[in-house]
Symmetry: C2
Subunit: 340 residues, 2 copies
């Protein structure tokens, strides 16, 4: 039993237009008529046809999520899937459906453009490490409203985003290490050209500054944000004879890499060297020893991004308003810094 606007209209003894107004909660319908129509809709279980609606110029009722990452295991990477999960829940709660895209620049170079050409979404949440200004300019030009998760600096672009407080997260971690009496704290950076790496680095520097310690560039490690790279680089520190008593890594896997090297050199953790990571991936709690790390609130990250996007879609927020919502992070103290 398929119902359409027309069939509902007939049943209610009104016209198509009126039913449409009721369905879309638009003004200009007498309360009694609205009520009557609503009853019929309830009885029949009528649901508007999304494709027809969207073809006629309305919305699609879909939200897109795209992850820009060259990592084929993008979902596994960091905390994507936990954020995604929150977004999905929020999307469903707001009666939208969720389209999941993932762009690996290595494969189909222009994959991400299909979001524009196919026009299947009303709005977009953009995540990932490989977001380019080009991408955002395109979506803006295609008039697809978007919200970023994670902040970035661009020349020509003002956009809204949700980001966790990397500055304060890093600062908490480093202050914690300082509080343990550590003075020479290595910072294992990821790719330093990203906004959040800079924020973390500032947190690191400010924490040291407040403790009256100068930043020693010999303790700053940069490179790809991978476990293997961290391992090699911490090994190099040993070979160069650099002394240190603490390590703060920009993500948990890099902390694991550092811990492996420490174990190889039979350095006592946390007594000789204390280690803190970032992200609180599931494995962090299970690592031996369990890893002290900064936990991002992935659920809120996703929720706030959706709320912001919905505000934009409802016209309550300008698409290029450039609002930034910052989500606090918590330091989770485990045994790489404090003996249980």
């Amino acid at each position: 039993m398929k119902h359409t606007l027309e069939s509902i209209a007939e049943l209610a003894g009104v016209s198509r237009g009126t039913v449409s107004r009721v369905v879309n909660q638009l003004p200009g319908v007498k309360p009694q008529v609205r009520q009557k129509v609503q009853e019929i809709i309830e009885q029949t279980g009528y649901v508007p046809h999304p494709q027809a609606r969207s073809l006629a110029g309305g919305a699609t009722g879909n939200i897109g999520v795209i992850a820009f990452s060259d990592n084929p295991d993008y979902l596994t990477h960091h905390i994507f899937y936990e954020v995604l999960q929150a977004i999905q829940a929020e999307t469903a709660a707001n009666d939208y459906d969720l389209l999941l895209f993932a762009n690996r620049s290595t494969a189909d170079k222009d994959y991400w453009k299909r979001i524009g050409t196919r026009r299947k979404v009303d709005g977009l949440i953009i995540m990932g490490e490989h977001i380019q200004e080009e991408h955002l300019l395109y979506f803006r030009q295609q008039q697809i409203p978007f919200v970023l998760i994670g902040k970035r600096a661009y020349n020509k672009l003002s956009y809204s985003c949700v980001t966790s407080d990397y500055y304060s997260g890093a600062r908490q971690a480093v202050e914690h290490l300082l509080g343990l009496g550590k003075r020479r704290i290595v910072y294992i950076n990821g790719l330093p050209d990203m906004y959040h790496e800079q924020a973390r680095y500032s947190g690191y520097c400010d924490a040291l500054a407040e403790a009256g310690i100068d930043v020693d560039q010999a303790l700053i490690i940069e490179g790809e944000a991978k476990q293997e790279i961290a391992r090699v680089q911490v090994q190099a520190l040993f070979e160069r004879g650099v002394l240190f008593d603490g390590i703060f890594a920009a993500n948990d896997l890099m902390a694991f890499g550092a811990l492996e090297v420490l174990a190889q050199h039979q350095v006592e953790v946390p007594n000789k060297v204390a280690v803190a990571g970032y992200d609180d991936i599931q494995a962090a709690a299970y690592y031996a020893p369990p890893l002290t790390t900064v936990r991002q609130d992935k659920r809120r990250l996703g929720e706030e991004a959706m709320n912001m996007l919905i505000a934009i879609l409802r016209g309550q927020l300008e698409p290029d308003a450039g609002v930034t919502t910052v989500i606090e992070s918590d330091l989770i103290i485990r045994q790489t810094t404090v003996k249980s």
Copy 2:
């Protein structure tokens, strides 16, 4: 510059119908005409409007994935997100888009029905632990072709599915434990009413049988598939004074639970008791000691499911053909069974 069938038709000097036939690769167009039209399409970058197409009775170009799970962290749970990732990649490669649904029966009870009423997908991949026959009957009745990941037994229903080989996975794990000389192997089951739990249990029994060992029901533990439950139940084994020298758990988290209790009782692993898990979640490799476990090939699970669904959508496979594709699993040997 927006193009439509009509505008392309005009440019090519043919009719809408002809262009449509070219776009959809239908027969009945002279080669030269087809070529000509194809050129114009290429030049203009014309892309058919999916909503219009679908309204007019065509396909949506979307594949849905739904996870039935009461766990709010469904994506985190087991290996969902790794399978999802593979599905996404495969979907994109086949020029479909992916809609992600997640049903928690606790929240909106009829959430999953929107997939039927909204008709946004051409086909569905169904995952999760809480799939009911009712769900599948509904999708069948709504004529939405689907493929399951994981096998199940239903009365009235024949469906196609992709599942990993739980029987052989379990058997490999148990044979491995037997090979270490273990004789009294505990099996920590999840919810035993599921097909794959039964398959695993058969694998366990058959491995024992071949080694000439009788199954001792005192060694079989059942309950919810959670770390906490496993912990409590292994603790109970100690309290009851049950002797054992091996543990095979139906998932990694339960293996972790068991290992915690062993550590508390200062039981040497693997010498006194060897432990194997199932799934190979990321944390398994990082656990102390690293966990021997059965790795499911999540990528192939997703890929095969998509391939099967696409075959159905192309009419190459009957929706109710009842084909089962079995994906082998590998035993990953780590230090809970073999000292490094």
